[in-house]
């Protein structure tokens, strides 16, 4: 039991809201309970990079991924180049949390500029998985996922480009939504790949996820790629009657899916059937094979353009140089990390004269193929189910020397991301004591359906989100 008798490990955000509404706890007490949990556990988890010492607001506290600008609170994006950076404005999602009276607990660790699948690319050291400290929490949003799993925050904001919400949620036993592109503002979010980046909620259960998505989503005048969003409904239904669920063979039978992951996903599918869903196999013949190469051209290409802004002139760190160009080149050499440099190099190469059509142009056409393949499936199915990742959380250091092996971690989350589709990862069981993620993908703007299905499955699965070593 934590401070003020508040059990942060087990309390959902909705329950916390109940405590506030019934006057059984104050916002300040909640904040202090989470802060006490942070002070106790963050030294070994490294989930938070910056802590807020004075809460603002009288609602449920929240943790915010450090790629999201927070006025007056240091925002590093996991990079040394932004170590001294204190934003002078709030990202729209941070402003919406503020408008909902949610005090920020602090900023959570991330792979540098959200580029990675393990949080090991953070310039501030990796985050550790609360289920097993020798393992990664997934990435890039490992800090937000670890914070929620370990009871250091009732909920958190993440961001997802190739799987940075879904994957850490799977590895840490959380519920994570990558929303439909365009439903959540990117204004004030440190840009990685602008046609893919999307902010979303990381929570302990599906209803909390819907509550937070309701707060952050919607059109924003500061981001012209945002659109009006259908009202977000809190899921109630406990059955899946009438739902047609497709199991893409290429996602579910991929080589390298661990037996324990397969077993947990299979039992979730059996439960879905017993809840009334119609289940059928289907095919995504090209999206899985070509999704990863397509992503690793488009995302680095956009990243190389977005990261051009880090030049030592207007904000961030600067190295000395005899002239302007030398100053810029040294600044970028000295303060950008290895993976950022690698992606800048790949992206610049793919966009350079003579290669543009063969790489970036071709990848954009492949993206159309992937989108069409998914569109065709949604004529027959309401949603698609697969594992979120082929494995459970891997060991720290296991893949960090081999960029391509690390990139493969995202092979199951990337295809739907390329098509701009929403995806929900929910925990569906344990394999050797580590959480397994189930990925639910629907057509654009189908978040309410994903929540309905996720909530019903969550009830049937009965997963205990408290990490064994903390129980």
């Amino acid at each position: 039991m934590g401070a003020h008798g508040i059990d942060t490990l087990r309390l959902s955000a909705e329950d916390a809201l109940g405590l506030l509404e019934r006057g059984e706890a104050t916002s300040r007490e909640l904040w202090e309970a989470y802060r006490a949990a942070i002070d106790a556990q963050n030294p070994e988890l490294n989930a938070f990079l910056t802590l807020v010492d004075e809460p603002e607001g009288d609602g449920i506290p929240i943790a915010i991924k450090d790629v999201i600008s927070t006025k007056g609170i240091r925002t590093t994006a996991g990079s040394k180049i932004l170590e001294p950076y204190v934003p002078v404005f709030d990202a729209t999602v941070a402003a919406r949390c503020k408008a909902a009276s949610m005090p920020c607990l602090g900023k959570t660790n991330t792979d540098e500029f959200a580029m990675g699948s393990s949080t090991e690319n953070s310039a501030y050291g990796p985050t550790h998985n609360p289920w097993d400290l020798d393992r990664v929490p997934g990435g890039s949003g490992g800090g937000s996922a670890a914070a929620v799993a370990a009871g250091l925050a009732p909920w958190a904001l993440g961001s997802d480009t190739g799987g940075s919400i879904k994957l850490p949620s799977a590895f840490c036993g959380n519920v994570g939504l990558r929303p439909t592109y365009g439903t959540v503002s990117r204004y004030g979010v440190v840009a990685f790949a602008s046609s893919l980046d999307q902010v979303g909620p990381v929570t302990r259960n599906v209803r909390d996820n819907a509550l937070l998505y309701r707060i952050i989503s919607g059109r924003d005048v500061h981001d012209s790629t945002t659109v009006d969003v259908p009202p977000v409904l809190l899921p109630e239904s406990e059955d899946l009657k009438g739902l047609r669920i497709g199991l893409p063979r290429q996602l579910n039978d991929l080589d390298g899916i661990e037996p324990g992951v397969k077993a947990a996903v299979a039992s979730a599918i059996a439960l879905a059937e017993s809840l009334g869903a119609e289940i059928d196999e289907c095919e995504l013949p090209l999206s899985v094979d070509y999704g990863l190469p397509c992503y690793y051209l488009i995302a680095p290409a956009e990243a190389s353009a977005n990261l051009a802004r880090f030049d030592g002139v207007r904000y961030g760190a600067r190295s000395d140089g005899p002239d302007f160009r030398e100053m810029v080149m040294r600044t970028r050499h000295d303060f950008l990390g290895d993976e950022s440099k690698r992606r800048i190099m790949i992206g610049t190469y793919a966009l350079s004269s003579g290669y543009y059509d063969a790489y970036y142009g071709t990848a954009q056409k492949v993206r159309t193929v992937i989108k069409r393949e998914h569109d065709a499936l949604f004529e027959k199915f309401d949603l698609l189910i697969s594992p979120t990742c082929a494995t459970t959380a891997f060991r720290l250091g296991e893949k960090s020397a081999d960029p391509l092996a690390m990139y493969l971690t995202d092979v199951l989350t990337i295809p739907s991301n390329m098509a701009g589709l929403p995806g929900l990862s929910i925990p569906c069981g344990l394999s050797d004591g580590l959480p397994v993620g189930l990925q639910l993908v629907g057509p654009q703007f189908s978040e309410n359906l994903l929540y309905r299905a996720g909530h019903a499955l969550e009830g049937a699965i009965g997963f205990d989100p408290v990490p064994g070593r903390l129980a």
Partner: protein, 93 residues
Amino acid sequence: MAISREEVLHVARLARLELTEEEVGRFQEQLSAILEAVSKVSELDLTDVPATSHPLQIANAWAEDVPHTSLTLDEAFANAPDRDGDYFRVPPA
């Protein structure tokens, strides 16, 4: 799909990125492997397939043309490594 040392240096110059000797060698090896893997996109017949640059079909997202407050000069300079009055100061070009 091996890329040469000269190509690595050329791309680094385009990206305004200084590299050490060790980085040049390592990136030459890693970029070659990554580019070989992503070249898979060229296997498909993409005749008559249009490009997707953006996942939503949005055209002309208009905003009302109304004046609003922007950052003050002090806010805009708050994170500058070096400032000279109303200018960002940088080394000579």
